[in-house]
């Protein structure tokens, strides 16, 4: 699989990976969602686990390969204000304040740009303003936040202080209806895109919450003979396994969506281990499947500390599983750098692709 994918006037060039599995510090622990900051940085909400309790939001500076830095860590495990049990959504407003949702305590916590706790709101329930398993969250230019109230199968709009403004949607599979939605994003015009998780599609709504379009429908790979549901990590390819991916446009439990200035739509096709790219009419273009052939900086630090590791890597016959996504939960597009950032959740890393414009491959490289 080439490092660069070229289709219908777009070219995607894998750039680098950031991260490694870590209970704290330089690394991640099961990213659930993420959100670009205002300053070449990104905030990642880590779900953690019940062994090391590594729940947190961390803030990472993204530069060229190897230039990443850990900037902050907050919303760690605990029951006090500013702490979390099940971190899920994270969003940044234009002032750099950070909003993070906790799916278990049914709250939204607000932090300043330095990670200092400011306030929180949220009570469990289904009435207007009440929350049940809040998931993704996004900040509108006007300062309001739109929250994916997943357990109530709806979206809710709040002021930054937590006063409810609107609810949109209800349970179901029809237009404007949801089933356990996960991630959310906005395009330049304020349209809302929601990853409608158990409806296996993305829905586009207008800025006032009216249904516009549905993207994608259910589809997945048949489980290969010698792989089983629990650890089926497909579609990583190994000798003899059936290759291939589901046809473009078929989604399996999509968790997130991003839109670029050209209108292209990127969907984190979680259960199919890929990012599906659609054009603005919702027609499938191509897939990104993960191409991490180069170790990340922090990953390399782990390798360097464990000299037998390099030998262990060389002994494996097929390196391909290493490169590929495994349940990618989130995708963002950074218009300032034309980069696609994918949270490769089970591998605890971010994979970064460059959307290349006017790319010409050198003669010498052919």
């Amino acid at each position: 699989m080439a490092l660069q994918t070229y289709i219908k006037g777009r070219a995607y060039d894998w750039s680098h990976a950031i991260g490694r599995a870590a209970a704290n510090g330089t690394g991640f622990n099961y990213p659930q969602t993420m959100c670009l900051g205002n300053d070449g940085d990104i905030y990642v909400a880590n779900r953690g686990n019940e062994n090391t309790f590594a729940m947190r939001v961390n803030r990472v500076k993204i530069g060229g390969p190897g230039e990443e830095e850990l900037l902050a860590e907050f919303f760690t495990y605990g029951e006090a204000d500013g702490q979390s049990v099940w971190p899920f959504g994270v969003a940044v407003d234009k002032n750099g304040n950070v909003y993070a949702t906790d799916e278990w305590t049914n709250t939204v916590s607000v932090f300043d740009a330095g990670g200092k706790f400011i306030r929180k709101w949220g009570t469990p329930g289904s009435d207007p303003g009440e929350l049940r398993n809040p998931a993704g969250i996004i900040c509108e230019p006007n300062g309001n936040v739109i929250l994916v109230d997943s357990g109530n199968d709806r979206l809710q709009v709040f002021t930054p202080e937590g006063k409810v403004v609107a609810q949109w949607g209800k349970s179901g599979s029809g237009e404007g209806e949801f089933n356990k939605p996960w991630g959310i994003t906005l395009d330049n015009e304020g349209n809302i895109y929601v990853a409608d998780w158990k409806n296996h599609r993305v829905q586009k709504l207008s800025a006032s919450g009216k249904f516009v379009m549905s993207i994608g429908r259910y589809g997945t790979l048949p489980v290969p003979e010698n792989a089983f549901a629990v650890t089926y990590l497909g579609p990583f390819l190994s000798h003899g396994d059936p290759p291939g991916y589901p046809q473009g446009g078929l989604l399996n439990h999509p968790t997130d969506v991003a839109v670029d200035p050209d209108g292209d739509i990127y969907v984190a096709d979680w259960g199919n281990h890929r990012v599906c790219i659609f054009d603005q009419e919702g027609k499938p273009l191509t897939n990104l499947v993960g191409d991490a052939q180069v170790m990340s900086k922090w990953g390399q630090q782990s390798i360097d500390a464990n000299p037998d590791m390099m030998k262990a890597y060389r002994r494996a016959r097929n390196q391909e599983p290493l490169w590929r996504f495994c349940f990618p939960t989130a995708v963002d597009f950074d218009p300032k750098t034309d980069r696609i950032i994918v949270a490769d959740s089970q591998r605890n890393r971010l994979q970064i692709y460059q959307k290349v414009r006017d790319y010409i491959e050198f003669q010498a490289n052919l």
């Binding site: 599995a21 622990n29 799916e103 650890t231 190994s238 390798i303 494996a316 349940f327 591998r347």
Partner: protein
Amino acid sequence: MAHAADIALMAHLMRRAGFGAGRDELEARVAKGYDATVEELLDPETQPPVDHYTLLRHQPSALLPGGVPPMGNVNYMYYLVTTQRPLEEKMALFWHHVFATGNSKVDNYDQLLEQIDLFRHHGMGNYRDLLLKLAKNPSMIFWLDNNQNHGTEVNENWGRELLELFSLGAGNYTEIDVREASRAFTGWGFETKLPRLPYGRFPWKFQYRPEDHDEGEKTFLGHKGNFNGEDIIDIVVEQPACAKFICRHLYNFFVADEPQVPAWNLEPPRDPAAIDILTKAFRENKYEMKPVLRTLFTSDFFKNARYKHLKSPAEVVVGTLRQMGGYEIAKPGYGELSMQPSYMGQDLLNPPSVEGWHTGQEWINSGSLMARINFVAEQVGNTSAPGVQSIIKRLRAMGVLAPEQMVDTCLDLLGPIEVGPDTKKELVDQVKEWGDLSWDTAANAQAATKRTGELLQLIVATREYQFA
């Protein structure tokens, strides 16, 4: 009364073929009928599978749990507690008992979970096919060192355990057979996999290396030929001893406690006629498990074997959680909950050795008895749990309850459970100290609720409650 007998029989079936059932479920199943229920249990595809996507949404680390608990246990516990295919899950646990493979050496919980999933998919299929898949299962190969079984340097660990523990049982083969079988499995290994740092576990993949295989002639159980692994398995399953061994395991797990496996070539089965019935079904159906299970669950010897099985820690914990309700989502605290069977002596996915766990009476020691009783008591003592609320609802509908009635009803709704006359007297005496219980006023209802919780705790503390 006919209905009570049906409920009791159905409860017995669900405890053995699954992990128990609450009263509402029992009544629904009785309405369908016993034989129809057995058929449904034998046809798991008619029920939806466990939603592992929902598990991964809430506990993503349960997919690749590494080498340290509890996230691997969380994954397994989630399946045990939420499955709507109880017999499929129970059979997977059965094979986990027999083909015991432990994380203490394998050090990859994801690979052990994959093995359990193998048992889910194929545990009720054909035994011969299952044995072949097991021989190719990388976790098993690593566990029993078959990746170190080379044509030039035979390692007998897998070959031996295949015969001694997985098919024939001790005394039904010679040391030469062990050697020859091991020779036949040379070259059955796995590809080296990508290492775990820094991005987590990758799976093993079976690999047969013909260049490492011993191509010579082998003499195995009287047969001669250039046997490879499949041939050994084919010869093994034909042996009458194999049918007897596997059927005795089924009897021990589903019907009544036998002595520990190492004693099996010395001590005969407690019900040889039952073993014969099962063995006949096993051989006549060419090692298909479903007909054998059907024969077992519809037999008189099964139906009459009430309380002859001491619950394993898995049954204690899973049965309680399913009955109490509220554990359908892998909520915070699931990690600690999933470790409960190990506190009682059964560390799922990590049996102490390839011999598996010592079952029956040997589950009980001073530490484990206390752990079992205290865990279940804590659960049933929580009167706001859905399972307890449903018992209370039925009690309320009966109005004022005299002590005997109270005890009888609670025993009935919690199980039904049978207790000996001495135990019953103690329980009734305890309730007598409280007097009649009524639900007419808020104060009375609150007191009655509290007493119900305490009575349930006392019931689950009885010796009789330890049996299924």
